[in-house]
């Protein structure tokens, strides 16, 4: 389904993970993040890494592609590592140069923190790789619905996301068209320093915004003409439903959480 939508980073497939209900995937990702913060020993980190690898294998995503999703945050990783290495006080000093001291504790902590960040990112990438943005929107709406009574506009948020998904390609096309039209009139989008370039963007942005507002107006009228009046009393064509796969996923993730909690606190109790 939808192999012609390139938005986001959805990677179509029909693995166990792909077929899970979006709500299951969202909740399991949240639970996994909790599990990450339970880990404190090398064994528990090993388990987490092993589990992530297993999920990637089951989802049949290209391994390198998933790993690449860590790339955008390498600076944050490096900073985290450095700050922990150089600022953690400790007893075992590994290396010292003027005011910089590297301790064993600092090194351990730094590696742990980076590992946590990497795992967190990998797991949420698996979510977006295996769920199309449209299905994800449905999932978010359905998960947020119970919070409506405390003022979370679940339906409105989902509607906004749907419309954004619908119009991003259209607006990209329009940007391209305006850019060509302005280039034909002598506009220059490529040379000059940063300030110059930002200034040169104005003839692109203004028509784009005006066009977007006009579209929004048209769309609002069209939606009204098709009886749209907010989320009240609306039904859905696709109703989400949990299947046996989803229960399996929940059991697995809870076993993981309890396992890690036991490794952290349980051993002391015995």
């Amino acid at each position: 389904m939808l192999n012609n939508i390139t938005l986001g980073q959805y990677f179509p497939g029909d693995s166990f993970i792909h077929k899970l209900d979006p709500r299951t995937k969202l909740l399991c990702t949240l639970l996994f993040i909790v599990a990450i913060f339970f880990a404190n020993s090398p064994i528990s980190y090993g388990i987490l890494c092993g589990f992530t690898l297993l999920v990637i294998l089951v989802s049949r995503l290209p391994f390198v592609m998933v790993l690449k999703s860590v790339k955008p945050i390498w600076i944050i990783l490096l900073l985290t590592l450095c700050i922990h290495i150089f600022t953690t006080p400790g007893e075992t000093i590994l290396y010292q140069y003027s005011f910089l001291t590297v301790t064993k504790e600092g090194l351990e902590l730094g590696v742990k923190m980076c590992l946590r960040l990497i795992l967190l990112l990998l797991f949420s990438s698996i979510l977006t790789f295996t769920t199309s943005p449209i299905v994800l929107t449905d999932g978010i709406e359905s998960l947020l619905r119970p919070f409506k009574c405390i003022g979370v506009p679940a339906h409105e948020l989902a509607m906004m996301m749907t419309i954004a998904l619908r119009f991003i390609p259209t607006l990209l096309e329009e940007t391209d068209r305006i850019m060509k039209a302005q280039t034909a009139r002598g506009a220059d989008f490529e040379s000059g320093n940063i300030i110059q370039r930002v200034k040169n963007m104005l003839p692109l942005l203004i028509p784009l915004f005006i066009g977007a507002f006009r579209r929004a107006d048209d769309l609002a009228i069209a939606m009204e003409a098709r009886c749209y009046r907010g989320g009240e009393g609306r039904t859905r064509m696709h109703q989400l439903s949990y299947g046996s796969n989803d229960y399996v996923a929940f059991v697995v993730i809870f076993v993981l959480i309890f396992g890690l909690a036991f490794l952290r606190w349980g051993t002391k109790l015995i």
């Binding site: 389904m1 939808l2 012609n4 939508i5 943005p133 449209i134 749907t162 419309i163 998904l165 619908r166 390609p169 259209t170 096309e173 006009r214 579209r215 048209d218 769309l219 009228i221 069209a222 939606m223 009204e224 003409a225 098709r226 009886c227 749209y228 009046r229 009393g233 609306r234 039904t235 859905r236 064509m237 696709h238 109703q239």
Partner: protein
Amino acid sequence: MIKIENLKHYYKDIDGNEVKALDGVSLSIAEGEFVAVIGANGSGKSTLARHLNGLLVPTEGKVTVNDMDTMDEDRTWDIRQSVGMVFQNPDNQIVAAIVEEDVAFGMENIGVPSAEIRPRVDKALAAVGMSDYAKHAPHLLSGGQKQRVAIAGILGLEPKCIVLDEPTAMLDPQGRQEIVATVKSLNKEKNITIVYITHYMEEALQADRVVVMGAGKIQFMGTPKEVFCRVEELEKLGLEAPIAAKVASELRKCGAKLPKDIITEEELAKALCQ
């Protein structure tokens, strides 16, 4: 099924001047009829269209749809369900990122049970010949296909009447043909009342009745034959009669004995060969 009585619609433009977009229009449209509305830019034809399902309400006068007054706010949604509307810009009326989701949108709004939506979506897409594109993203379709999706979205609501407000103005010739053919088949096969606003005379030829608008008023109306043989009057309103009617009229002026009701090329050819 639609009755318009002495409809007036005034609004203020940016400079504060009162504009009489509609200035006393009376028209009644019967069930199953195919009515084309033609007129130059600013003649009030789009404003008229928006009164038919309560998107605009009259300043004066009255519009009723199946005896429901468009001024009655309690009936607004019933009216919009029975009078669907297709707009000019094919891009700006598709809401969802997948064709079938968009067709379902209207039905979801009026609260059709989930199990019933699926078959109705399939039926609506089949009626406009877009079944093969159910899972496509709308932005990858041609203009004509997008307009057909928009029509399908309205068919899902099972309307009695569809108002099309210049649906072909932004389409290429092929897209225009697709839309005219689709609309005609809906009118003939499903007996859906059609109000078709256009400035292409060739499209208006397909209608049962043509209404000519000018300066916020109905100038004249009748069957396509009655309307399009009045070549000079049409020209005064800034409209161009179909080419065959114009040629016939010029030939008559030069003394050729041609019947008065020639509006299509075939009729002209036949008359000339006699």
